[in-house]
Chain length 246, copies 2
């Protein structure tokens, strides 16, 4: 069983009944690796819990398949199924914790996952038949979860991500997932570019897409110390709770 | 980490390199719940290991998602994603262990999974858009794994399955997965019928489908003590190793 911090609700709880009230609040912290997402997730979860709100903090490590290292070292074979596993785990955890009426503070969102697959398609690690099946499945899954109520964007310069990543690896706070330093540098730079585009798309959808009408968009300063956006995020969650969801 | 019995290879090994020789041998034990599949899987694995063969035994419990109980109690929401998770986990474990050149002795096969989804489609727990996405995805995944080299069919009468299931639950050897006794009885009877049809399809494909040309089909006596078919299965594996795969 995955236990959260003491007193926190259990993410994989199968005994509780679905909440009678409205579904929970979906908070997503979107951005490149080592932007400070997990620190922010954990701080927001803690502040909400201290105010008596039922909140779970979801680090993306929860969705890491045990074969994740093979996705980097043997992409041709493992990129597709490992990416499916990310999408599916996130979907299940979201479905369940939202129906339990909790605030779900999540590293990345279900709308981020496709970015990583797009990159594998471009490099040829994911084949056209796999890409088509992924797209169809993600459309079917996404139809059943809401857009984030609060969407935080963080995308520091690649050099900042790389320096933080190196420090976390050296301190043993992160596993060394990349096959080598050169591959790591390439991935981090590429993901940064892709996040620039994805975040631009999110901004446009907030302005024009009815499915995004209720989204509170927050831009976090990517160079600020990780976690410093927590008060704004907590305020946005309280705003959602007061105003209700669309 | 999931560790096998002492000395057994690790199913989730990410460090070993793919075998230089031929891929491993795929042994599937197909049939209804409580047919004695896990006992047979474990006995075959042990006998092969004693003969110096690299073998892994895969109980289907390895593929059970932590939300599995919700698939029974809240099928409308959870049947689809939990079934996807079964299919995907099996796919990953098969891909990896076959490329490592091992004999994979598995409870059920990738060709069994669709049976459970078909039932959820019929009862309306899986919607048409989900069914279509599942079918497309399974076709894409299945294209990348071989048909079983050895396929063992076991499908005892539902009363036999139910009696064995009750005994295993009472002894604490199996979790109580079903919401109640009535639901359990219905599922076990229905699965029995579906397995009659699936096994008939397997027999026909062995006779006519080129993709099944190399399949060694074994019919295990469903009333015999669990595990008693082990010597025949081991002999079939040795036959595959001697003759090679198509």
């Amino acid at each position: 069983m995955v236990k959260g911090p003491a007193g926190a609700p259990e993410v994989y709880d199968v005994r509780a009944s679905a909440a009678r009230g409205p579904r929970g609040v979906y908070v997503a912290v979107s951005g490149n690796t080592s932007a400070g997402k997990s620190t922010l997730v954990e701080r927001v979860r803690r502040e909400l819990t201290e105010r008596g709100t039922q909140a779970v903090g979801i680090s993306e490590r929860l969705f890491h398949h045990r074969y994740l290292p093979l996705m980097f070292s043997r992409s041709d074979t493992y990129a597709f199924p490992v990416q499916l596993s990310f999408m599916l785990e996130r979907h299940l955890v979201l479905l369940r914790n939202l129906e339990l009426g909790r605030v779900v503070v999540m590293e990345r969102s279900h709308l981020d996952d496709g970015l990583f697959v797009a990159e594998h398609i471009e490099t040829g690690s994911v084949q056209p038949d796999q890409a088509a099946a992924y797209r169809e499945l993600s459309a079917v899954l996404h139809r059943r979860v809401p857009a984030p109520d609060v969407l935080v964007l963080m995308n520091p310069r690649p050099e900042v991500s790389l320096a933080r990543l190196a420090a976390a690896e050296a301190a043993g706070e992160r596993p060394r997932e990349f096959p080598d330093e050169d591959a790591k540098r390439r991935w981090v730079h590429r993901w940064h570019e892709l996040y620039v585009d994805l975040h631009e798309e999110f901004r446009k959808r907030c302005a024009a897409d009815p499915a995004f009408a209720g989204v509170r968009l927050l831009e976090a300063d990517p160079q600020a110390p990780p976690g410093s956006a927590a008060p704004q995020v907590v305020a946005a969650v309280r705003d959602v709770t007061r105003q209700g969801r669309p």
